[in-house]
């Protein structure tokens, strides 16, 4: 009952607003002039391709007889979606990135949080230097980062492997059990600094008085960090988690690059790689259906997480 009231007020204000604008000819023109530059590309480059992909996912290929017959596409209902759900490779790729995400996302965000908190303490010197250094990997394109790491993983040419060998360790970064985590390491290296920066900027906006008050109450730096700072920046942590969930489901560049040097990454390793493999075999309709399913899963997971946590965080 209580939350209906403010909502009603909001509705009233907006109607009022609309009424005020009505009849103002030049104003409508202004709105159009300001809004068109956004909506035109939005429709052209966002809605149309998404609509096209959805449309393609409902088509199937049929063929007139003969060895090479003539192919044509026609409406096939949910046929392509049925195939996606029956595809074992699709589910194993989903399972694989599920495992990837469950491990990689918490590790990365925890490291990012710790780094952000350390940057925020008055104890640390050379803050600007550490901030920019930690953020630097983000400036490296994912593919380049993966190529760089693939050199470090590759047993024939890696100084890292050579170095570990000299102390008696024989790591196999590209082995069947390790390669997923080698890919996770590349993602972590790329994105930790970025996530740290989002959390750090949230920390920066906390008023200093709060800390002073806490200090007067006898709180230690440790308590301030975990009892005050972390709860206050919870929304940014949630935001970075959502970004990470989306990023995990779209994982492509790192495994695709590592695949060139490791035979333990199949062409259908992640859902996006599966979609690409299917599209490159010219089965565009099936690839479109896979893409739509990935998008829906991403949507459900990220918004589900947001709803779940924002309630708990009291937002």
């Amino acid at each position: 009952m209580t939350d209906i009231a403010p909502r009603a007020t909001r509705v009233v204000t907006s109607t009022g607003g609309r009424r005020r604008h009505r009849g103002g000819g030049p104003r409508a023109g202004t709105i159009v002039a300001f809004v068109t530059p956004f909506f035109l590309p939005f429709v052209l480059f966002y809605l149309v391709p998404v609509g096209y992909a959805i449309w393609q996912s409902f088509l199937v290929v049929r063929r007139t007889g003969g060895q090479y017959g003539t192919s044509y596409t026609t409406f096939g209902g949910f046929e392509q979606y049925t195939k996606v759900f029956q595809n074992d490779e699709f589910w194993s790729s989903i399972g694989r990135i599920g495992l990837f995400g469950v491990v990689q996302v918490p590790v990365m965000l925890f490291v990012a949080l710790v780094m952000a908190l350390l940057l925020d303490t008055p104890l640390l010197k050379l803050k600007a230097f550490f901030r920019i250094t930690a953020f630097m990997p983000y400036a490296v394109p994912g593919v380049i980062a993966a190529i760089m790491w693939s050199y470090l993983y590759s047993p024939q040419i890696s100084p890292l492997v050579d170095g570990l060998k000299s102390v008696g360790l024989h790591p196999d970064f590209l082995g069947p059990g390790a390669v997923l985590w080698s890919a996770a390491n590349v993602s972590t290296w790329l994105w930790t600094g970025y996530n740290m920066l989002i959390m750090f900027s949230a920390l920066q906006s906390i008023p200093q008085e709060l800390y002073e008050a806490a200090k007067l109450d006898g709180a230690s730096n440790w308590t301030i960090a975990w009892q005050i700072k972390v709860p206050i920046i919870a929304p940014s942590i949630i935001l970075t988690t959502v970004f990470s969930i989306i990023g995990t489901l779209q994982l492509y560049a790192e495994p695709a690059v590592l695949r060139q040097i490791s035979s333990n990454i199949s062409s259908t390793y992640t859902p996006n790689m599966l979609a690409y493999a299917v599209a490159s075999g010219n089965n565009y309709q099936q690839a479109a259906a896979i893409s739509v399913v990935i998008a829906v899963i991403t949507f459900v997971l990220s918004f589900g997480f947001m709803r779940l946590t924002s309630k708990k965080a009291g937002l």
Binding site: R7, G51, I54, W55, F58, L59, V60, V61, R62, R63, T64, G65, G66, Q67, Y68, G69, T70, S71, Y72, T73, T74, F75, K83, S154, P155, Q156, I157, L174, P176, R259, Q260, I261, S263, N264, S266, S267, T268, A277, V278, S280, G281, N282, N283, Q286
Partner: protein
């Protein structure tokens, strides 16, 4: 809460509505293009589009343009994404007159109605006698038309590090059994040394090995494709390499053409290479220090009779919508049979010509300095003559190759065998053809 629900259901309704609207404008009208087009010379000047991936081809085209002011050719290099670019252009109805297409992709594009039949031009059908027979039968689909002219081939041979062979007292292997014996001897002498490597991510190379053993993977008869990817001949090849892998006689950790592969050769860890004609420049250019150490000999055989396989090679195809067939045939013939053009393509692009006249090129009948001045192209010419002409590629080859690679990788990692990989590829072949509505059944 109710607000959200309304919004979501509205979005769903909107999505459903747009699907319905789009469904209304479905265009299932199949366009038939496979019939032979007319072959009239154009009145006046003509400009042709020609897409390819061959380095130095711009110079070859420039030579043609200089000689033929009335038939000008505009070239575009599509080596970044060859089949993606061609596929998109076809979808948009903007294909060039001529495009480079690999033999293994010809049936696939043929099922996508990508080509136009040039057999209306008498010059096109007459060109048959100028090409190595198997290349012609692949690009004319067993004589159902003329859809492309062969350009280059990849007859296979064995590259041997003669110094390592000599040092360990190995004979040049005549059969695959000899080769395995050499491999064992080498491994016993020096566990750090392997006879060769097996790249599980390279279906093309493996297909070349299958081809050598007369593994006919696809056959068309009775209105159906008969798929026998996992035939006995294929399995014989798979079992052989599986044994080599299990005994750790071959490396499986090197991707073909990668820095890692060259590093392994550089460090003298590998004593031979099973490769194609175009590979001669790879070693020459990437391992200049090993000049004089390499020899090229015929590929080991399964029986006593000579047999070889092909790995790679391309055609120049007549693409859908071609309105200047007469001129296209003229240029395409020149490009792929004229000695001057062939010599230039060999020199600049490393192409090993598919035209029979190619073997008479001066550059291909001389000794090659890097290979101890051996006449290596004689080996490839013999190899080319021994390639099984019955071999044909499937209409969903790319998908089958990916599946084969995934399963071969599993086999080299210790789960399953290469023979299982063939069975997986067989299943994928049937499934992917069903997805494309191509009638197919398991053969043999």
């Amino acid at each position: 809460m109710s607000n959200t629900v309304t919004r979501i259901s509205l979005a769903a309704v909107a999505a459903a509505a747009s699907v319905a609207v789009l469904a209304g404008c479905s265009s299932p009208a199949p366009s038939s293009d496979a019939s032979a087009s007319s072959c009239e010379p154009a009145k006046g000047k003509v400009t042709l589009q020609y897409w390819n991936t061959v380095p130095g081809m711009d110079k070859v085209v420039a030579l043609w343009n200089k000689k033929n002011p009335d038939i000008q050719v505009q070239m575009k290099n599509i080596s970044n994404d060859q089949y993606g670019t061609i596929g998109n252009a076809l979808k948009a109805g903007k294909a060039p007159e001529l495009a480079q297409v690999g033999y293994d992709e010809l049936p696939f594009l043929r099922t996508q109605n990508a080509f136009v039949d040039a057999s209306a031009c008498s010059a096109a059908t007459a060109a048959k006698s100028k090409f190595v027979p198997w290349t012609w039968s692949q690009s004319s689909f067993g004589g159902t038309g003329v859809f492309a002219f062969p350009q280059d081939t990849g007859p296979m041979a064995l590259y041997v590090r003669s110094d390592i062979f000599k040092k360990h007292g190995l004979d040049i292997p005549k059969t695959w059994d000899d080769y395995a014996a050499d491999a064992r001897k080498l491994h016993k002498d020096d566990p750090g040394l392997s006879i060769t490597f097996f790249d599980p991510n390279n279906a093309e190379a493996f297909n070349g090995l299958l081809w050598q053993n007369s593994a006919e993977m696809y056959k068309y008869s009775g209105d159906k494709w008969h798929v026998s990817v996992a035939s006995d001949q294929s399995k014989q090849v798979a079992d052989y390499w599986q044994k080599m892998i299990d005994a750790k006689l071959v490396r499986t950790d090197l991707a073909h053409g990668s820095t890692q592969m060259y590093t392994a050769y550089q460090k003298n860890q590998i004593a031979s290479y099973v490769g194609a004609a175009w590979g001669y420049s790879m070693f020459r250019d990437n391992l200049p220090d090993q000049a004089g150490k390499w020899s090229i000999v015929p590929m080991p055989t399964w029986g006593s009779s000579a047999a070889s396989g092909d790995w790679g090679g391309s055609t120049v195809a007549f693409m859908k919508g071609n309105k200047h067939l007469y001129e296209s045939v003229k240029f395409n013939s020149w490009l792929n049979t004229d000695p001057e053009a062939l010599a230039l393509e060999n020199k600049l692009g490393g192409l090993y010509p598919a035209a029979t006249a190619g073997s008479e090129l001066p550059a291909l009948s001389q000794g090659v300095p890097y290979y101890n001045n051996e006449k290596i192209f004689d080996v490839f010419a013999d190899s080319s003559k021994n390639i099984d002409t019955n071999f044909s590629w499937g209409p969903t080859q790319k998908t089958v190759n990916l599946s084969l690679q995934d399963a071969m990788a599993k086999a080299t990692a210790g789960s399953g065998t290469l023979s299982d990989a063939l069975s997986a590829a067989q299943a994928t072949a049937l499934k992917s053809m069903k997805d494309q509505a191509i009638p197919a059944t398991a053969g043999k």
